[in-house]
Amino acid sequence: MVARQIGDHEINFEHRQSAHCESGVTANLLHHYGVEMSEALAFGIGSGLFFGYIPFIKINNLPLTTFRISTGGIFNRTMKRLGVSVETKRFRNRRQAMKALDQKIMENIPTGCQTGGFWLPYFPAAYRFHFNMHNLVVYGKQKDNYMISDPIFSDPVLCQEKDLEKARFAKGALAPKGRMYWLSNVPKKIDFKVPVQEGIQEVCNTMTKTPVPILGVTGIRFLAKRMLKWPHKLGHEKAALYLGQVIRMQEEIGTGGAGFRFIFGAFLQEASEILDKPALFDISKEMTETGDLWREFAVVGAKHCKGRLSAEETYPEMSKILLECAGREEDIFKKLMKI
């Protein structure tokens, strides 16, 4: 095999820790090209907020609950709305994929990679599961180690070539297939007003107008109804697992708390300044209160999982909180639609 002719190289890339990987990568890449972009703003312009309870898609035999739009959506929408050109590449050949990445680093272009989480050695073992929607930025190489800005970690990390290669070619659902992406053209001046409005508009539509009963606000109500039946239908043990899965998806690393509701609240505050609409600041407060309710939902569920609260009390109580969340969110999105 021919030795690769790439020496050590480091791009001057500012690592900023974020709650969520995709919106963090989006914001950090834009920031590198001089665009003032916070994670919350990227999340909002990319219309990241969502809800879906999809009982017929199972992850580890448990139904899928999601609090965000599909993977890649935040990045793609934000870039499109800001008029930023993006290039994306997927690979069949592993060596080529790593070579192409080296090439980009040598060209001084920080490059985003989609990876699996299971093979990244710097991940704490407790968080290592087979999920393929992780995102990170590679900004340099030192001998066999890549310098990586992984937004969910407080500091940049090093990762050996063989491990990154394995992570870029993780298998299973939504396999990354070595996907890497970079910004090829960033406009000199960007006006945030229209992108922010579009971002808000789309969230309102997906949350209140999706004609499928398991998505959006109606999806929250659907889960509220379904969950009442869990203990009878599944037995206590399995029902508790279903419950735990919802809590994990809501609070798992990367949501910033309360299933992205708090990040979205932060976005609304920024939007209120960009659009000069104080009303948005008030709606942000309502979003925060709704987020607090979601947290309460998790508290009650966890009490049950620990055996401190009986099933008879837990499921009706949790269902009630969910219905309240649904009502409030519907209210919020109706108000937002008029802004």
Partner: protein, 146 residues
């Protein structure tokens, strides 16, 4: 969530701090570092409990001669037959066949090597199983990787 209420319940991931969004005294959102939150830790431990239980059940079956050691490594790496066959780039039915002790023992060295490299272990390690799994598998992983 108020800034002062951001939970700092450590336990699962050492000193790793993640970002939570919370409002400060003036009602403005700020990013706050958090060590973790109890309800989330409960849910995560529950998920690990399921994995550990599965691994333990499989160990028993291996000891009883019903499954090959491959089944243990597959479960420990949280894989299904489908996922493992993806990594091996061979048909699922073949992976399933390799779960039988008799067939596994007759496997050619290159197949064994490939399995070992998928799991990131040696061929010798692939053929051995521990007597018992640690109660909390993720902790076992932490010490191993240090």
């Amino acid at each position: 969530m108020k800034k002062s209420e951001v939970p700092q319940d450590g336990g699962m991931a050492g000193n790793m701090r993640e970002i939570a969004y919370a409002v400060d005294e003036n009602g403005h959102y700020v990013k706050v570092e958090s060590l973790g939150w109890e309800p989330k830790i409960v849910a995560l431990k529950q998920a690990w409990g399921v994995i550990s239980q599965e691994v333990e059940d499989i160990l028993e079956k291996i000891k009883a001669g019903k499954l090959s050691p491959l089944a243990f490594h597959m479960a420990k790496n949280q894989m299904s037959l489908g996922l493992l066959s993806d990594y091996m780039e061979i048909a699922k039915w073949r992976v399933k066949r390799h779960m039988k002790p008799k067939i596994f023992n007759r496997l050619k060295p290159d197949v064994i090597e490939k399995y070992a490299s998928v799991f990131g272990i040696t061929a010798k390690e692939l053929k051995t199983i521990p007597n018992q799994v640690a109660q909390e598998l993720y902790k076992d992983n932490i010490t191993k990787n240090k």
